[in-house]
Amino acid sequence: MSLLKRFGRSPPAVIGLLLMLVVLAAALLASTLYPDDPLRLAGRPLQWPGANPRFPFGTDPSGRDIAAQILHGARVSLLIGSVATVVSLGVGILIGAFAGYFGGWVDDVLMRITEAFQTLPAFLLLLVLVAVFGSDIATVTLAIGLVSWPATARLTRAEFLTLREREFVQACRTLGMGHGQIVFREILPNALPPIIVYAGVVMASSILLESALAFLNLSDPNIASWGNMIGAGKGVLRSQWYVSAIPGVAILITVLAVSLVGQGLNDALNPRLRGRS
């Protein structure tokens, strides 16, 4: 039975996938529907959604088209979310896998480093990194990835700690496999389900972290990110709340889609759950 069919059997996963497709479509259609720079001044500021047919979502305090920014912002959010997640998972899995698999002093050293990162609040660390290295979009993305790996590392380590004692891992060693092969080809696929689900959380929190930075005017001001939009609306939050609310809903939908797809993938990928509905 195909992966798709198993995935399709769970309604939440399908809803998540549909939402994800909507966000992806928004990102892909951005240049076609709004070929101009989304940050250019498009009309009179603070027009309510629907008031002017040219601006279905209205305009923000600077007179920029909110709909154009939402579509272009989808690209930015997805890009930041996925790249930061890849960075975070890459670092986290690598550190967690080696710590859990080798144990002993390797584990001690790697876990002390992880703890050092964890004792600092992620957002504060992110602020420091952005303050030091600047706030263009590449730096921000990388910085977000670098502050959010400790939890992935701990999760991976915990999985590896239990899996490495399993007899199938010992069997691999008696066959003469190298450590790299055992860690990445034998243990990692078994450790992945919780990590895949957690990747959804990392992606969601990456998008939120970027929004928070943007809200404080610390993210890249030259791009149309949803966080920047929320930030732009904070001055008129009580009268023209839609300026912040519309990108807020966009973030909510994206985060929800990512989480649901992550959970659905986990259920579909796990061979032990096959045959159960």
């Binding site: 002093w105 007899e167 010992q170 069997a171 066959l175 496999m177 078994n190």
Partner: protein
């Protein structure tokens, strides 16, 4: 004589979609005062469900669909839950397989036993304390006063089981249900616990429903026997009749699968040539390292020297903690020994550097104990078997050809190579594990408790397969087991281990027939049902 507990036409339905509609079907049993009824069966026979149905402790989605459970004439199935709570513990008590998980790890033993009194009686604190201490004395815990304050992890497995029995007997129940109470214990401890149960029963006249898969234990303790298969009782009657004159074909097959201790297969010629020579091997755990302080030092292997003759089977027997598994793991270099040599031909495995070791590994292969944990659940079984040769540089197509051949050799359908491990039964998985080990064409096979987790009929099949492969491939096997019955069937030479040392070794006939060391004698005396010779069927 009247029945204390009687099951009449009891049927238990499984949720739709299970492998069969009923967990139990029309089960009728009767338990007499002062007698032990053994319910025997293999895994999935419904024997534990029987206990669950009586205690109303069935898993979710499983429910009694017909029949009665009569305790002194009252149908327990019709009682409301509060009334049932008064019966559990007070009139029917239960002991479980794994005392570590059945006891609360965060509370002292004495407190947990006292809780039974607090729940069911109005005794004063002082009276409860007295009764608790008396109970611990009655189950013969070595230091009852200290055991009162001890936490479960501070006691040994046998002591924990004694504490569980004390708790079960606290309110002097008429009926005791014991669900595999000695399965997790060592054979000498098992003998003590069985003795204790028999003794307490004789003194108190308790009726015991004893659930087990082990016919040796049955022979040791049963007055009456009920044999279960697939949720039905296929045969029941007095112990002597069932054990020595079984009528039902399934009972006959089960009893025939029990390895007899009295009929040791005729000795095979032992080659003077050694396949594997272990000399002065030692291994200690808990030594201090640069980063960690010393823990309790355990000498797991203490100057162990044994020789595995070419084409022969060397059995390493002993109880848990004797070092036999450590020996197996040192031999295949899953552990690095502290000293000594492991000579395979002219190579000393103990002295090999990691890089050399990886290529030499194919010469010595291991079959693991747990058929559920030893196969990577995310790989197809064909690949699992072909993996070893591929790691050692054999081309993929050739490795899969070899795997296909091995599937046939171990009695599996090569067409099943594309399936995942969870689609196979325990016995089939063990065959896959065996095929994986053989795929590298090893000179020496190390089997670490390879048949211990299997049902007795499956165990017999795997033992036959091992014996057959030994003949066909000329394999030399290091066979680690705690089960002396199994060892007697398959081994040519036996080494008895105790606390990291080999205390006695010799041919099977010598070790079993005329044991020299007192530990060997104690071990042999503890084998359950040693006085019973399964009838030749």
């Amino acid at each position: 004589m009247t029945a204390v507990l009687e099951l009449r036409g009891l049927s238990v339905a499984l949720p739709p979609g299970a492998d069969r509609p009923f967990a139990l079907q029309d089960v009728s049993l009767s338990l007499q005062r002062g007698r032990t009824l053994c319910v025997v069966g293999e895994s999935g026979s419904g024997k534990s469900m029987t206990a669950g149905a009586v205690m109303r402790l069935l898993p979710d989605g499983v429910s009694v669909s017909a029949g009665q459970v009569l305790l002194d004439g009252t149908d327990l199935l019709t009682l409301p839950e509060p009334a049932m709570r008064k019966i559990r513990g007070a009139r029917i008590a239960m002991i479980f397989q794994e005392p570590m998980t059945a006891l609360n790890p965060l509370r002292p033993i004495g407190d947990q036993i006292a809780e039974v009194f607090r729940t069911h009686t109005d005794l004063s604190r002082a009276a409860i304390a007295r009764r608790t201490l008396a109970l611990l004395e009655e189950v013969r815990l070595p230091d009852p006063a200290a055991a009162l304050a001890a936490f479960p992890h501070e006691l040994s497995g046998g002591q924990r089981q004694r504490a569980m029995i004390a708790m079960a007997l606290a309110l002097e129940p008429e009926t005791l249900i014991a669900d595999e109470p000695t399965t997790a214990l060592d054979v000498t401890t098992q003998a003590q616990i069985l003795h204790l149960i028999r003794d307490l029963q004789a003194r108190r006249g308790t009726a015991v429903l004893f659930i087990t898969h082990d016919f040796g234990v049955v022979a040791e303790i049963a007055h009456d026997i009920a044999v279960m298969q697939g949720g039905t009782v296929v045969e029941q009657g007095p112990a002597d009749a069932i054990l020595n004159h079984p009528q039902h074909p399934y009972t006959k097959a089960l009893i025939a699968a029990v390895p007899p201790l009295s009929h040791i297969p005729p000795p095979r010629p032992i080659s003077p040539e050694a396949a594997l020579t272990i000399t002065g091997l030692s291994k200690e755990f808990g030594k201090p390292t640069r980063f960690r302080r010393a823990k309790r030092l355990v000498r797991a292997l203490d100057d162990v020297s044994v020789t595995l003759p070419r084409g022969g089977t060397l059995g390493i027997v002993g109880e848990s903690g004797s070092g036999k598994s450590t020996l197996a793991r040192c031999v295949v270099r899953l552990l690095d020994p502290d000293g000594g040599s492991i000579r395979l031909g002219t190579t000393d495995l103990a002295a090999l550097a990691p890089r050399q070791l990886r290529t030499e590994r194919s010469r010595i292969q291991m079959v693991f104990q747990d058929p559920y944990a030893s196969l990577n659940p995310r790989r197809r079984v064909g690949e699992l078997v072909a993996q070893g040769p591929m790691v050692q540089g054999v081309a993929r197509a050739e490795a899969f050809d070899r795997a296909r051949e091995l599937f046939g050799l171990v009695g599996l359908d090569p067409g099943a190579m594309n399936r995942f491990p969870h689609e196979f039964s325990g016995g089939q998985r063990q065959r896959i594990g065996l095929a994986r080990a053989l795929a590298l064409r090893p000179e020496v096979l190390v089997a670490d408790e390879a048949v211990s987790a299997l049902d007795v009929s499956v165990q017999a099949q795997i033992l036959r397969l091992l014996a057959d492969l030994r003949e066909r491939l000329g394999l030399s096997t290091l066979f680690i087991t705690h089960d002396l019955r199994v060892a007697a069937q398959i081994c040519d030479w036996i080494a008895v281990m105790h606390r990291g040392r080999v205390v006695e070794e010799g041919t099977v006939a010598a070790v079993f027939g005329a044991p020299q060391h007192e530990y060997t004698r104690a071990l042999l005396a503890s084998v359950p049902g040693r006085g019973w010779a399964p009838p030749g069927i």
